[in-house]
Symmetry: C2
Subunit: 221 residues, 2 copies
DNA sequence: CATTTATTGGCACCGTCTGCCATTAAGCGC
DNA sequence: GCGCTTAATGGCAGACGGTGCCAATAAATG
């Protein structure tokens, strides 16, 4: 009825800004991931994480509904960066080529420590099934972005079966490549490891278009 | 040193057979899924499931490490059946055609109640993130089987990047199709719904081979 | 029946996570 | 500065998830 932000004398303490909230979560997240990597998820209690970050256990649980969701802010940060790159994918370019161009800036945008932490999380998801769920949730968000972009480029509705399948397939490609790199970076991340990721993705994308057996292609004809 | 099974007078009560163990788990699983569907996962306590199945809470927890893993036996049963079909895929046939032939027997092998229960679980995984992890775990096992079969047919090592990517992509296809059917079967499963699944898979497989934008195909040339 | 081993159930206990309330912090007008 | 209002925090009790331990029972052998 009345205007948007008017009619609001706003008395009392204002809520903290959204960015600040994110920063708090991110801080908790970094401590949590460090502890997870050092001693495992099961052996790390919520109390411990809270203490490491200097807040009470109660407020820790207010920030994260489950212990595993601690990894989310860190992962989200990287995935969002990647999504931004995908969204900026120009029509006239191959995805591979676009990634080749945009990949390095993506790496520069994040601190080395965060990159290391993210890869540590990905590695942890191999054995710690509790983290797998969180990991796959944020991957799913990325898949939706991918589907949006694909749909727009193909001129199809977002939920067309072809679009969803393609998005799922490409998402799978990214997953395979990322897992490989995370494993490769088990002991120390170098610039080469990360550049390798780009080429892994390229390889994997090629693998996708090869279509070993799923259809009667030129190979089988 | 000594022979395999000899030298074992085997005194005392013998361990229960593996099949019997599986049957017990399956029984628990059915009760659990029913309760999950009726009142949600969070609102269903381990004690409740145990009581429904007529065992103590303690032995319930001995059968399942986490509450969510209750769904595993049911899902595994279906996935194993599907894997068997994939393994039997003859070289000279298209996958789609093979599935068309083998699909009905697959349905006949399971009770209607179990099929309904499985679809209910898949539907639940949409909203209950706790179940998502369990669901994705058994899907991953299926992906490995797929990779094996693909590797053998293509004459490549099991962990070749192309193989893994293809397996992941096909697995994604199955996931998309299955989710669609589970949604469609929200109110009552009919034979048509299930036959529809086969066609969904076929559609999705076609979608996979279309390759909207991932490479310079005839469309982009 | 006595013996041996596997399963079961009961109990105590730690960690996860929530609801509730008192306390503190951050803004406002005065 | 002082109230006043609202948001964030911390502390506490408690339900639920899940494990270790031990006693009781079940199923085999002789």
């Amino acid at each position: 009825m009345t205007d948007v932000a008017t009619e609001k004398p706003r008395r009392g303490r204002p809520p903290v800004s959204d960015e600040q909230r994110q920063r708090q979560r991110l801080d908790l997240s970094r401590h949590a991931v460090r502890l997870f990597a050092e001693q495992g998820v099961a052996a790390t209690s919520g109390e411990q994480i809270a203490q490491a970050a200097g807040v009470s256990e109660r407020t820790f649980w207010r920030h994260f509904p489950h212990k595993e969701s601690c990894v989310e802010p860190l992962l989200t940060k990287m995935v969002d960066a990647f999504c931004a790159v995908v969204r900026a994918w120009p029509r006239e370019l191959e995805l591979i080529d676009h990634l080749r161009e945009a990949y390095s800036p993506l790496l520069d945008a994040a601190s080395d420590e965060d990159i290391e932490a993210v890869l540590a999380v990905v590695r942890l998801t191999q054995g710690e099934r509790a983290l797998r769920a969180a990991y796959l949730m944020v991957r799913e968000r990325a898949e939706d972005v991918l589907a949006d972009v694909l749909a727009e480029r193909a001129g199809l509705p977002r939920n067309a079966i072809e679009v969803r399948v393609q998005a799922a397939a490409m998402s799978a490609v990214l997953k395979v490549a990322t897992d490989d790199v995370a494993r490769a970076a088990a002991d120390g991340v170098t610039r080469e490891t990360l550049e390798g990721h780009r080429e892994q993705i390229a390889d994997a994308l090629r693998g996708l278009s090869q279509v070993l057996v799923a259809r009667p292609g030129p190979l089988a004809r």
